[in-house]
């Protein structure tokens, strides 16, 4: 009986000792600078600039968020400077959005600037990455007070735009995968600061080494999502038909048939898209009654033209955001190995044939 309390006592003493050692290491969350948005850009003189925005919790404060700005001394020192103001130094554990300036992306590869995000296990790799058409400062310094916190506005704007299918959404881990993976080239959301609001303008395509290659507008982004097989949510497209004028369709489901081959010293891809869509709007020629099969054919043809245009555009940019490289590697391994390091150029040479078939499932509540 006597021994037991003694034993517990010593254990208790030890725990108390550990407790005193461990104390004071935690900081309650309201004391922390929790970075929600991180932005990097080059300013006019080519110096690296970093911005961060973190929420202010105190109710007494007028401003809801706090913007900090750091400038590197010179471009040459920027890499060194980045260490001192990198994400790791602040708490990037709750990062929601990373903004990259267009100027930076045209001149440098994005990868080294993202490295800290990928390397630190405590950082948030679900942060969405967006390129700013213009200067990052335009976004960071815009007046958002009527809309709420900048952090929330930005990630909600990007996320809802993605759900409306007018842009892509690339999270940090996806960007890393796209950068390292030779079979697909990276792409990120593109946003632009307008007076008093932030607009998602579409998709910025990057080359495989992480530099800016070109942009897609909202409609092209929708088509890109269609070709990427990202049809978790319906894709809305506005098409100009010869018979009916401008109509809007909602692609709800699609089946893909992919065929790859190698011939004439280039890769050949044949993609057949069988889409199920519904008519949601016919704006101009609403009096004329066109039979559904004709309508389907016209929509399919129009869709195909749009897709061909998109393919032409990305081939011009020498990037492959759709991921044809996956097929090239899976089915044409020996040829793939020759071009593995330079898939963008090989892809630009490739023959791509897209055939579309559209099945209208409904024309809505109106006949």
């Amino acid at each position: 009986m006597k021994r037991i309390p003694k034993r517990y006592l010593s254990l208790f003493a030890l725990i108390m000792l550990m407790a005193t050692c461990a104390c004071g290491k935690s900081t309650a969350l309201e004391m922390l600078q929790i970075m929600g948005v991180y932005g990097i850009d080059l300013n006019e003189e080519g110096r690296l600039q970093a911005y961060s925005s973190s929420p202010i919790f105190s109710r007494e404060a007028n401003k809801k968020y706090n913007i900090t700005k750091t400038t590197a001394l010179s471009t040459r020192q920027s890499r060194l400077q980045l260490d001192s103001m990198s994400i790791g130094a602040l708490t990037g554990r709750k990062l929601a959005t990373v903004l990259v300036g267009k100027k930076l992306l045209t001149e440098k590869s994005i990868y080294p600037y993202m490295d800290v995000l990928f390397r630190d296990p405590s950082s948030e790799i679900n942060a969405s990455i967006a390129m700013v058409d213009g200067n990052v400062s335009e976004i960071m310094e815009s007046e958002m007070d009527d809309k709420g916190r900048l952090e929330v506005v930005l990630f909600e704007e990007i996320e809802t735009s993605y759900e409306d299918r007018i842009c892509v959404l690339t999270r940090a881990y996806q960007l890393e995968d796209q950068l390292l993976n030779p079979r697909i080239t990276p792409y990120v959301t593109e946003i632009k600061a307008l007076p008093g609001e932030i607009k998602v303008t579409g998709t910025a395509l990057l080359s495989d080494d992480g530099k800016y290659a070109g942009s897609l507008n909202n409609k092209e982004s929708s088509l890109l999502l269609l070709l990427q097989r990202d049809i978790g949510r319906p894709i809305q497209l506005m098409l100009d038909l010869p018979s009916k004028g401008i109509v809007t369709i909602n692609i709800k489901n699609a089946n893909y048939n992919m065929h790859s081959a190698y011939g004439k010293e280039r890769f050949q891809f044949r993609v057949a898209v069988h889409a199920e869509a519904e008519l949601t709007e016919q704006a101009t020629n609403w009096k004329e009654n066109i039979p559904v099969p004709v309508l389907e054919q016209e929509i399919a043809k129009q869709l195909q033209q749009e897709c061909d245009k998109l393919i032409g555009k990305i081939q011009r940019y020498r990037v492959d955001p759709i991921g044809f490289g996956y097929y090239a590697k899976a089915y044409q391994l020996s040829r793939w190995k020759e071009v593995e390091d330079n898939w963008g150029d090989a892809f630009a040479q490739a023959d791509i044939e897209i055939t579309t078939r559209v099945k209208l499932t409904s024309t809505g509540a109106v006949k």
Partner: protein, 491 residues
């Protein structure tokens, strides 16, 4: 001294000597009809006076011939007994019996005329029920046994009686179904009861300290119940029940950790509803132990686990609070414990008022004063409600206590502290035994056959066997009702 004397005068003298300073002792000398002298002793408040006048004094004084043998005395009391030594006379007197001495006989007749003041049978306070019976145990052992017998009229129900306590000789009655219970269990319990050497046992709760396998462990190792139907349900599952005289609760064992989350009411609800309630209780268990600790660890160490918007609202409500989360939590937890205790000690309606006033004052005002955050109030309230869902009072109290070390661990080491504390708690549960039964059964050690009646309750006709966790020797509970386990009763 010890043996009764043949002379009535001697006996009277001994009695007066033994029970001096006991004004409530009635010593009634009288003469039988045959003019033989006799003496009746009883304690004023402990006996049924009507019975003494009508069934003892009247026949003896008006009818009795000379008595040679006491057992033939013409009294009309149901149960009598002859004894020949003073110790037994003393016990009998104190337990409300009356004692008859007759001149010339060295024996005394004990007549069972108990009639002390007692509480009427009423609804149990701590285990109220919706559909089950509304009778609760009272403070008289015999009555309680009678209540159990009413539910279980079976000759296999055996009663072993023990007298425990040197000064207060309480009668303990061990009840069990002899064809179901494993004999070792009864032997083990008997051994433990007989080794208790103590002045007095006044209530069942006191007894558990002497009977527990692990007295230093926080978790209860015997279940107590106020309800005869619950006691009988336990007996039918192969457990043993201990009725303690003077105490309105009955001790049941062996129990396991999960059996504290079962109630008799579960079986009177429809099975899906009952299963939902069971699941709810286990969720409540988790909330009671882990919620405040998780909150502390999230705020202090792992805020990134919270989604951004939730983080913002928690941050906003925390911004005014000047304390670290652990102090905030302790403030609130301790005040709610105080409220609970205050409500318990005060008479009914006042207690409720205290609850309401305290809740509003502490909750609302503390938030407005910026001492605690809104979220903390919600968490504390949720924790308190969860702990009240746990049906067994002892278990609920233990768990409420256990969450404090968890909170401390969480404030020092975050999630790691919680996990380590959980492992220690689970380790203790798994290594415990009650009356030779592993406390963690049927979860660890695993016995899937018992899982039909833990986290969910299967329909009763599918519970064909008694739980294995009691080591019952006879497992069959019912035959094949509802062929194939479903469908109708046959056309």
């Amino acid at each position: 001294m010890n043996h009764l004397s043949t002379s009535l005068a001697d006996n009277l003298e001994t009695a007066q000597h033994l029970f001096c300073q006991s004004p409530d002792l009635v010593i009634r000398p009288f003469q039988l009809k045959s003019e033989q002298r006799a003496l009746l002793l009883y304690f004023e408040g402990l006996v049924d006076k009507v019975s003494i006048t009508h069934d003892i004094l009247r026949p003896l004084i008006s009818e009795a011939e000379a008595i040679k043998e006491l057992s033939n005395a013409p009294v009309t009391v149901g149960r009598v007994q002859t004894v020949s030594d003073w110790t037994q006379v003393e016990i009998s007197l104190f337990t409300g019996k009356c004692v008859l001495f007759v001149d010339g006989i060295a024996e005394a007749l004990i007549m069972f005329t108990q009639g002390w003041p007692q509480r009427a049978i009423s609804e149990p306070q701590t285990e109220s029920t919706i559909k089950g019976a509304h009778q609760g145990f009272v403070e008289t052992g015999e009555q309680n046994i009678a209540l159990i017998r009413r539910y279980l009229p079976n000759h296999e129900l055996k009663l072993n009686q023990y007298i425990i306590g040197k000064r207060v000789r309480s009668t303990m009655t061990l009840l069990y179904l002899s064809d179901i219970v494993k004999p070792d269990l009864v032997k083990e319990m008997e051994k433990r009861l007989q080794s208790i050497d103590v002045d007095a046992i006044l209530s069942t709760g006191e007894l558990t300290d002497y009977l527990d396998d692990h007295p230093f462990n926080l978790l209860p190792q015997f279940q107590t119940t106020e309800r005869p139907d619950a006691a009988v349900a336990h007996l039918l599952q192969g457990r043993i029940a201990l009725v303690v005289d003077h105490s309105p609760t009955v001790l049941v064992g062996p129990v396991t950790f999960v059996s504290f989350f079962q109630t008799v009411d579960d079986y009177s609800h429809r099975w899906l509803v009952a299963s939902f309630l069971r699941a709810l209780r286990f969720v409540a268990l988790l909330i009671t132990i882990f919620l405040p600790a998780s909150y502390i660890s999230l705020i202090a160490f792992h805020f990134e686990v919270l989604p951004f918007k939730l983080l913002l609202s928690i941050g906003e409500s925390r911004a005014r609070v000047p304390f670290p989360p652990i102090i905030e939590a302790f403030l609130m937890e301790i005040s709610i414990e105080m409220l609970r205790e205050a409500g318990l000690r005060l008479p009914g309606p006042v207690g409720q008022t205290i609850g309401v006033v305290g809740g509003i004052v502490i909750g609302q005002a503390a938030v407005q004063a910026g001492i605690v955050s809104n979220i903390m109030v919600i968490i504390v309230a949720l924790t308190a409600i969860s702990s009240f869902i746990i049906p067994d009072f002892d278990m609920a109290s233990s768990l409420r206590l256990i969450r404090f070390p968890f909170m401390i661990a969480a404030s020092l080491f975050g999630l790691i502290g919680i996990v380590i504390s959980m492992l220690l708690l689970v380790g203790f549960i798994m290594s415990m035994r009650t009356l030779g039964i592993p406390y963690g059964i049927p979860v660890a050690p695993l016995d899937m056959r018992d899982w039909k009646d833990i986290f969910v309750r299967f329909p009763l006709f599918m519970l064909k066997q008694r739980p294995r966790s009691t080591n019952a020797t006879q497992l069959r509970r019912q035959g094949r009702n509802r062929k194939g386990g479903q469908g109708g009763n046959g056309a």
